[in-house]
Amino acid sequence: MKTKTESATALLEPREPAGRPVVKIFGVGGAGVSLLDALSREEFAGVEFAAVNTDASSLAASSAPVKIHLENKLLRGLGTGGDPERGRALAEEHFLALKGACEGANVILMLAGLGGGAGSGICPVLARAAKETGALVLAFVTLPFACEGNRRQHQAQHGLERLKTFADGVICLPGQKAFKLIDDNTSVLDTFRITGGLLAEGVRGVWRLLTRPGLIQIHFDDLCALVRDRHSESVFAFVEAGGPARSHEAIEKLLAHPLLDQGRALADADAVLVSLMGGKDLTMGEVNRVMEQISRHCEHAQIIMGAAVDAEMKNHLSVTLIAGRNASAQSAPVPAAAQPEHARRHGGISGTPAHAFPTAPQLSLEQREQAVTRHAHRPRKGGDKMLQAQLPLAIVSKGRFDKSEPTIYKGEDLDIPTYIRRGVPLN
């Protein structure tokens, strides 16, 4: 307990050169505020919580010490009515107040649910305000469920686009992913609790990563670089295990994590950040075991690894994992500026560009949106130009195999008689 109070006081001293960063967590909009309330005060000792919303009733219910009510006479305290433009206008109006709230922090974490008026409208403005005060901004956002309708999806994508331009990093949890965690009987309330819990886990992981003394330090920059431009695709997992076999348990839990799709998310990832935290009894063997397993699952990814010791975590091992995949199918070529950094991380050996850290591809807004949309499994409006397939001249009946699954091998339908495919004449 003693160490905790010490660390808390250390945190309260702003901008101490060797000290830990001052962190503020903002909950924005209805969803954001309730997410914020779900985070336990004790665990985040020394962190300032602030709730930002346009809806007076949501703020009144919140337990956050700092509440910023964005209001306007015209709205009469009723919120934005789901219009992000209104949210944005309100936030602009109160820009100075937001900026004032951000003042003094090194790191700002934002929690929000995109799709509605407040979250999608206010978040980008708040991120801009935070940037102007010189803080690093990392946003944790949820995207709406597919069943919430096209309009909300569209607003969420727009909000995300704008947020990306201002925030250093966005970690995004599509609501649709929660479907993997629930069954038919899960109540709506529980579903929201689950998605909220996942985001909270992410915040907790990042918070620990930033505040606990690292033996192998992960810098906030590393984190931001990882999540930048991989928004729609970043997944995170936070697992804890105890006991003598904790490293095994942690790996097993990690691979069984629903968001990681039984480890397949790792296989697809092109950059993975892993942070291990244990008590003083954390052994190098354990670190090695966990990392070996993780790196085996993501052969193509660049791995950023950190390890830290927390005296309070006796016999426990926690692993925070954030995996990012570049949303665009082809990884962008690595610009010269990114090369030295990459080389440094690999101990002077530079890999192929495909393994490297791709920076933002220069895409227009529409292109980006399209890329994001594609991954969010939404039908595209325009649709791709369909190529008209050419029908073979002679239609060969497959006889017995007409209705069975075709045997396709390297593009050849092996159910069609060999002599026909090879054009051997019978005469």
Partner: protein
Amino acid sequence: MFDDSNVIVGLEIGTSKVCAVVGELNEDGGLNITGVGQSRSRGVRKGEVVDPAQAEEDVRNAIVAAEHMADVEIRNVYLGVTGGHVRGFNNRGVHPVVSADREISSDDVQDVVKNAKAINLPTENNIVHAIRQHFFVDGHDHVTNPIGMLGSRLEVDVHVVHGNTNRLQNAIRLVRGLQLQVDEIVFNGLAASLALLSSEQKELGALVIDIGGGTTDYVVYVGGVIKHTGVLAIGGDHVSNDLAYGLKVRLSRAEKLKLEHGSAIADEAAKGQTITITNELGMPLKTVNVEHLQRIMSLRVEEIFQLIEQDLESAGLCNYLRAGVFITGGGARIPHVARLAERVLQMPASLGQTNSVSGLKSALDQPEFAAAIGLVRFGSFKNRKREGKTSFTQGIKGVFGKLLQRA
């Protein structure tokens, strides 16, 4: 009769026939085949059940026939599975030995095998077999049992055979529906190889090709362990279908022509020969050119071997098969098939003979039964293992328990 502890039954639900083979373990551990039951299969295409009701009836008939012949009551079976969805690949697991004295313990071995089995499969797939190959201790090759050795890095290769869970379940559920327990499911190609190969041949390196009605399963052994498995969803059915199409006859007629006049290599003697197809009254209906028949058939069988050859070539295994190719399954009955295999694969080829199994001569000699006999063999390994003796199958671990319980 009711003490069935050493009665082992292999059930293969094939595309052209369902067959059940009953084997008994005698006192000295030898395997004796005591009964065979078979029935025409009507509910299976390309090795997979497409008509459960029909298939269930066929399985029941085969089981009943086998029960009659062996005079036992069948309760448990080892079920053979195949299908185009079944795939195999090799995976390596690594484990650092962290104990102070660097001695490898059985825990380390368990860990490394577990690591090797942790693989990224599509969610809808499930592991059928994870077969242990060799251990490596500090990069040192070909260690069969590392317990007690000193080293800092333990690695193991496993060969993983996996398939689509739902499609595998179909067959399991069907057998369950007949109030039979499925002891374990076994990949047909693996079963056939167990029936045919001696340990010497496995050591030398061998390829077993089981050409069945709907699929062609193949397994490669190198250095005593399974290195490669594969399934092509092509089989005898395709040959018949090609003939029916090419010669413009009914499928049943094509089937008959295949059996009577088929050949894997187009015969010189067949040139210009014709067969007259007659109806039941003996009236001529149609004449068929034998040369065409054989050419159509030859091309198809040749293609099967070519596809296997390409696969082995890309796996880099062609030069390790010193014992050669063993062909079994109904396809082994095609005249000259071994010669064709020899020509395409460029290694000695022969028809597989079941070995170190005694019992019904009529069953052992037929290539169609190789897989089912292999299933019994697999079961006998399992039984012996249960009794605590060491055996080859210690490396073959059924990781399918969970799936069996779920069905």
